[in-house]
């Protein structure tokens, strides 16, 4: 997904003058020791990804308060939290995925990308290869972890209709079939199929 991408020029995204090293990825799941889970929780407790929009506040609140408990409570769903950190250990982004039941005619196993959140100041950052947006890198990694979990071919994420950036990111990453959620008109389920 990455090597064939066209080079991003600073003019393409003015904010992309911020180039960052490829982050290290740390995996947190239900088998992680309590000390490391507590460490993750204290890292996430001050994570800032919102610019003040309601749907961004909701994600920030989730990351700060629920992301670690979700790992503990949804261990049976293979819930994994990925922490993306720079060389100094500072958190750059967070992503989480788990198995969810998708009710078609019958309930089916599927992967849900629960959350992808970038630190506020790194929203439009690019990797030093100048080809990959940090957001796309994070999404690519969490999609790969979902694929490796082997939960069937359906994968999706539930995105606020106000969140144009995430909707575009989903489309770029081939989660490009929008499905309405009858109970929640403010959100859309963006779906794709693994190869």
């Amino acid at each position: 997904m990455s090597s064939d991408a066209p080079e991003i020029k600073p003019g393409d995204y003015p904010e992309c003058s911020q180039l960052v090293d490829e982050p290290g990825v740390t995996l947190i799941d239900a088998r992680t020791k309590a000390r490391a889970l507590a460490r993750a929780r204290s890292l996430l407790a001050t994570f800032e990804c919102s610019t003040g929009l309601p749907h961004e506040d909701e994600v920030e609140r989730y990351v700060r308060r629920r992301a670690v408990p979700q790992v503990l409570e949804h261990g049976h769903r293979g819930c994994e939290l990925l922490l993306f950190r720079d060389a100094a250990g500072v958190l750059m982004a967070v992503a989480q995925h788990e198995e969810t039941a998708l009710f078609l005619r019958e309930p089916e196993r599927s992967s849900l990308i629960v959350v992808v959140a970038l630190r506020r100041d790194l929203r439009r950052a690019c990797l030093r290869d100048r080809k990959t947006r940090l957001a796309a890198f994070v999404m690519e990694q969490v999609l790969e972890r979902s694929r490796q979990a082997g939960r069937g071919s359906i994968v999706g994420g539930i995105v606020s209709r106000q969140n144009m950036g995430s909707l575009k990111l989903c489309e770029r990453m081939h989660l490009d079939e929008p499905i309405d959620i009858p109970d929640d008109p403010d959100y859309v389920y963006m779906v794709g199929l693994f190869e």
């Binding site: 090597s3 308060r65 408990p69 990694q141 071919s153 606020s160 499905i179």
Partner: protein
């Protein structure tokens, strides 16, 4: 909010009394207990969720015992006994008992008391109001003990910077304290944002003894029981309408697929 952990292990108390020296301290512990400068502690039994069998038994103590043994080491026996009595009171406080029992159903086993305490304070993050009340009682007991005022500084806060030789820890309400980064690294707490408690004790003649330990992040804005905030993007199950079902069916019949990544993924398990 970052708070000190209100309960500690026997090992932590001994390390505090012996200025960080490790080793079997059973005799020392018994002596301190006999002299009345240690509380009895709380005995906690954990049972396995699956079998109901005993999965572990741990003895935990109020953190005030750390202050009591420090005072004893400095020869302030009366004050040490008074603060040990306050530790006993806190160990019998309903808030402490609620805290300890909050873990009942949540872990199957832990190998050591320190592992048990790690689990306890991880799972009790939503008991913010209770933990804050306990922390307030500990603080109050410290303030009432004059000898401690001049002897010990306790700061619980977040590591602000940890990239030099010295790391700075800043508490929510202002106080800050610096410690050698190496000291944090030994506890795997040498990263920005880590919740840390620093206890610094004056030893006289310009020397001091400082200990770092994990602190806990508590959630003061917890949801009321049974009224957890709903996050639409983490629903647990998804029920699309008829049109959604048709969309998935059409997608399956099309050739559109997400190609695998050609990037090498290196993921480190925490």
């Amino acid at each position: 909010m970052i708070l000190t952990r209100p309960l500690v292990s026997k090992k932590a108390i001994l390390a505090c009394y012996r200025l960080g020296m490790e080793g079997d301290g059973e005799a020392t512990f018994r002596t301190l207990h006999r002299k009345g400068v240690l509380s009895e502690g709380l005995s906690v039994c954990l049972r396995s969720d699956e079998t109901g069998k005993l999965a572990g038994r741990f003895q935990v103590f109020s953190e005030l015992n750390l202050d009591a043994v420090r005072l004893a080491r400095h020869g302030c026996w009366d004050e040490a006994k008074a603060i040990a009595q306050r530790a006993r009171d806190l160990e019998g406080d309903p808030a402490t008992l609620q805290l300890v029992s909050s873990l009942d159903q949540k872990i199957a086993a832990a190998d050591e008391t320190d592992d048990f305490l790690d689990d306890l304070f991880l799972h009790s993050q939503t008991l913010g109001k209770l933990l804050t009340r306990l922390a307030g009682q500990v603080e109050e007991a410290r303030k009432m003990t004059k000898a401690l005022q001049s002897l010990v500084t306790v700061v619980a806060g977040a590591v602000q910077s940890a990239d030099g030789e010295v790391a700075e820890i800043v508490a929510d309400h202002g106080p800050r304290i610096a410690v050698p980064r190496e000291q944090l690294a030994e506890q795997e707490l040498d990263y920005q944002g880590a919740a840390v408690t620093v206890r610094r004790e004056k030893l006289g003649r310009g020397s001091a003894f400082s200990q770092v330990e994990p602190a806990m992040v508590v959630d003061l804005d917890e949801d009321a029981p049974g009224q957890r905030h709903r996050y639409p993007f983490a629903p647990g199950e998804i029920r699309p309408g008829e049109r959604g079902i048709a969309t998935v069916k059409a997608l399956r019949e099309s050739a559109k697929r997400i190609p695998p990544s050609d990037r090498v993924i290196v993921i480190r398990r925490a």
